[in-house]
Symmetry: C2
Subunit: 71 residues, 2 copies
Amino acid sequence: MDFVSIIEAIKARRKSLKVTQNALSDLSGVALGALKKFESGKGNPTLSTLKKLCDALGLEITLNVKKTINP
Amino acid sequence: MDFVSIIEAIKARRKSLKVTQNALSDLSGVALGALKKFESGKGNPTLSTLKKLCDALGLEITLNVKKTINP
DNA sequence: TTAAAAAGAACGTTATAATGGACTTTGTAT
DNA sequence: ATACAAAGTCCATTATAACGTTCTTTTTAA
């Protein structure tokens, strides 16, 4: 998989809030194992898991029409 | 779950492109069953499934810091 | 430089998403 | 009204995410 930019967004936001993986796990209700796996690029979370993380971090998920020319 | 706005974004985009669920299933490689379940609000897709749909529809997934006051 | 904290890896078990198929309901156009 | 297409529902099987725990590696601070 490559959700690199999404993973990076989560990690960057978490760090900017100075929250550890353990703390985010508690705050979000997502199991520590699932969070670690996801942040280390080895996961494929369900939308509900991603949303729990985003909610805890004050992030919103949006879908936008791509304007860029077809990569 | 309530991914209402995400579901609506997918459906709206699909319809604006005049693509049927069957066609989107073919285009994206996501099984018809999974797509139907998701669009009817009964699913919890993995990120890879959501991304396949977005890719096929020319949508990108972005995470933004919420500016709104804590719902 | 070393002790503690944080992040990553590896497990077995349980829950559930993905798939493919058959069938039903709704929408659309003739 | 009626035929066809599209959307929705249900089912069994397979694949895999979520969870909890333990252990290892890396980072950070004293």
